[in-house]
C-alpha cells in the first residue's frame, strides 16, 4: 500500500509542477505581460515601467523568475496584489472558506440525490421514471448556470421574497442560520447541474454492475434482494463513483465560480472576477493555482480512497 501511495504522491507532485509551468507560461504570454495594468496605461512612463519591473524582479531571466515564483507559491509567499498591495495569500485565504462551504454542501447534496435517482432509474430501466429522469438530467445539463441562477433570484428572491438575493449574511449580524438562509439558493443552483451528472453516471455504472457475474452469484445464494443491492451492487459501484467525484472537481470549481458571481457569494470565484477587471495578475495566478491544486489533491484523494476500498488496487501500481 505504501508503494502505491508513494507513486501516486509522486505523480501528483509532477502534475503540480506541470501546472505551475503552464501557469507561469500563461502569465508571460498574455499581451502586455505581467504588468499589463501598467504597460497598457498610457500615463505610466517607460522609466516607471522599468522601475516597476526591477522592483518585481521581472528583469531577470525567465527561468530564474519561474523558480522564484514557483518557490514563492510553494512556501506561501504569493506576492502582493497589484491593486491595493495586500498579501495575496491573505486575500485568497480569506475567501477560501466561503467557496469550500458552497462547493462542499453542493457536492454532498448532489451526491445523495443524484446517486439515489440514478440507482432507481437503473433498477427500473425503461420505466416512466427512468425516461423522465433522463430527459430532466439532459435539460439540467443544458441550462446556462448563470442564467439559471439569475432566474432563481428573480423568482425566489425578488418575486417571492423567500430568500436573499445574494451575499453570505446580512451585514455581520447573522449567525449560522443566517448563512444557511443565504446558502439555499446558490447551493441549489450549483447542485442542480451536479445532480444531473451524478444521476446519469450512477445509472450507467449500476447497469454495468448488475450484469456482473458476482451479482448473479449473490442472488443464487438466496441473499435478499435489498442486501444484494446494498452489499454487492453499491459496493461494486463505489470505485467508479469515487473516481467520478475526482474527475468532476474542475467542473465543480468552475461551477462555483459562476454561482458565486451571480449570487455575490464572497468566495474565490467572485474574487477572481473582480481581479479580472483590474488585471490583478498575482491574485489571478494565485487563484488559478489554488483551483488546479484542489483538482490535483481531489483526484489524489479519490485514488487513495479507491485503493482502500478495492483490494485489487493494493498490488503494484493499480
Amino acid at each position: 500500500m505504501s508503494r502505491y501511495l508513494l507513486s501516486r504522491l509522486l505523480q501528483a507532485a509532477l502534475l503540480l509542477l506541470g501546472v505551475s509551468i503552464v501557469g507561469f507560461t500563461l502569465m508571460h504570454l498574455a499581451p502586455g505581460g505581467p504588468l499589463a495594468l501598467y504597460t497598457l496605461n498610457p500615463t505610466v512612463t517607460a522609466m516607471d515601467i522599468e522601475r516597476i519591473k526591477i522592483q518585481f524582479g521581472l528583469d531577470q531571466p525567465l527561468y530564474i523568475q519561474y523558480l522564484k515564483w514557483a518557490g514563492g507559491m510553494f512556501t506561501g509567499n504569493w506576492g502582493y496584489s497589484f491593486f491595493g498591495g495586500q498579501q495575496v495569500r491573505e486575500i485568497v485565504f480569506d475567501r477560501l472558506p466561503a467557496t469550500f462551504l458552497l462547493m462542499g454542501t453542493s457536492l454532498m447534496l448532489a451526491l445523495v440525490i443524484g446517486v439515489a435517482i440514478g440507482l432507481f432509474a437503473a433498477m427500473r430501466r425503461n420505466s416512466g421514471f427512468d425516461y423522465a429522469s433522463a430527459v430532466f438530467a439532459m435539460v439540467a445539463l443544458s441550462l446556462p448556470t448563470f442564467w439559471f441562477g439569475l432566474l432563481a433570484i428573480f423568482v425566489f428572491a425578488q418575486t417571492l421574497g423567500w430568500f436573499p438575493a445574494g451575499g453570505i449574511r446580512d451585514t455581520d449580524g447573522g449567525g449560522v442560520l443566517d448563512v444557511i438562509h443565504h446558502m439555499v439558493l446558490p447551493v441549489s443552483v450549483l447542485a442542480f447541474v451536479l445532480v444531473a451528472q451524478w444521476s446519469r453516471y450512477t445509472r450507467s455504472t449500476i447497469i454495468e454492475i448488475l450484469a456482473n457475474d458476482y451479482v448473479r452469484t449473490a442472488r443464487a445464494k438466496g441473499v435478499a434482494p435489498r442486501r444484494v443491492m446494498l452489499n454487492h451492487v453499491l459496493r461494486g459501484a463505489l470505485v467508479p463513483l469515487v473516481t467520478l467525484a475526482g474527475l468532476q472537481l474542475p467542473l465543480l470549481v468552475g461551477g462555483a465560480l459562476v454561482t458565486e458571481t451571480v449570487f455575490s457569494w464572497p468566495g474565490m470565484g467572485l474574487l477572481f472576477i473582480n481581479a479580472l477587471s483590474t488585471r490583478d495578475y498575482p491574485v489571478l495566478m494565485a487563484i488559478l493555482m489554488v483551483g488546479a491544486f484542489v483538482v490535483v489533491l481531489g483526484n489524489l484523494l479519490a485514488d487513495l480512497i479507491s485503493a482502500l476500498i478495492d483490494p485489487r488496487i493494493k498490488l503494484g501500481h493499480g
Binding site: N212, D213, Y214, T217, A220, K221, P311
Partner: protein, 318 residues
Amino acid sequence: MANASDNTLLAVNNLTVSFGPSRAVDGISFSVASGETLGLVGESGCGKSTTALALMGLLQGGSTGGSAKLLGTELVGRSEEDLSRDRGLKLGMIFQDPGTALHPMIRVGDQLIEALRAHLKLGKAEARKRAVDLFRKVGIAAPEDRLRAYPHEMSGGMCQRVMIAMAIACNPKLLLADEPTTALDVTVQAQILSLLKDVAREGGMGVILITHDLGVVAGMTDRVAVMYAGEIVETAPTEQLFANPQHPYTQGLLNSIPQLETGHDAPMPVIPGSVQSAAQAKGCRFAPRCPFAEKGCEVRPTLKPVASDHFVACWRVQ
C-alpha cells in the same frame, strides 16, 4: 437406479424460455430423483445453461413458461423476493467462471458467511465456525487463514471450491452445476469433479450437471439428457446412452469423440452443418444435419420410450 415416481426431487414439465420471438428452451420435460446426478449435455447455445438459470429464476430478460416443481413447490413465475428464500436453501448453483463469480471486494470468508446467514439463524461466531468447516470440507487447506483472502488472491480451482462451499452451505436438496470445470486447468478439473461427487453423495443431493464434455458425463452422471436447439432429444441412464445411443445427434456426438484406435490419417468425424437459428423451428430441429432425414421429419417428434427409462425424440426410432 432411482424410481422417478417415488422420490422425485425435481419435475420439469414443458419448460419454455423465450427472448422475444425466439425460444431458447422450447418445451422440455425431465425429472431428477433424490441423490441422482443428471447430466445435461449439448453444444454451446443449445439452451442447457438457460434451463438452469430459468430454474433458479436468474435469467436477465426473457420470459419463462411451463412448470418446474421442486419437491412439490413451483419454481416458475415467482417474484424475486419470494424466490430468494428458496435459493441457496432448497436449490443451489455453481457457475462456470469462478474468477468473476465472486465479488472482488469482499473476503471469501465473508461471502460464505453471507450465504450461511441468508437462511440459517446463526450468530457471528457460529457462522464463522461453520464457514471454516465448509472450507475444510471442500478441500481448502488452512481454512481459518483462507477466510480472510480475497478472490484475486486465489487460484481458479480454489475459487471454485469456495463457490461449491457457498452453494452447499445451507444443504440444498438440488445442486445445479453449470460447466463447473470448463474454465479450470485440466489437472484441477478432475479434483473439482470428484469433490462435487463426494459432496453430493454426502448430502443426498440431486445434481444437474451441465456440460458439453462427454468425458465428464461418463464419469459423473447416473442419467443423461441430450439437448439440441432448445429441445431434449434423448434421455437415458448413462451406460445405456453410451452403449446404445438412439438419436442421430447423440450418435454423431459419440462418434466425434476421437478414439485412440483411429488412424492418423482418418478424417475426424464431425456432424456437418450448424445449429439453425431458433426462429426457424419447424419440424425436427436436427433434420437439416441428420443423415437419416426423411419426409416425416417435417413434423416435430416428441420424446417416446424405446426401452425402460430410455426416451428418444426421433421418428426413425419410434
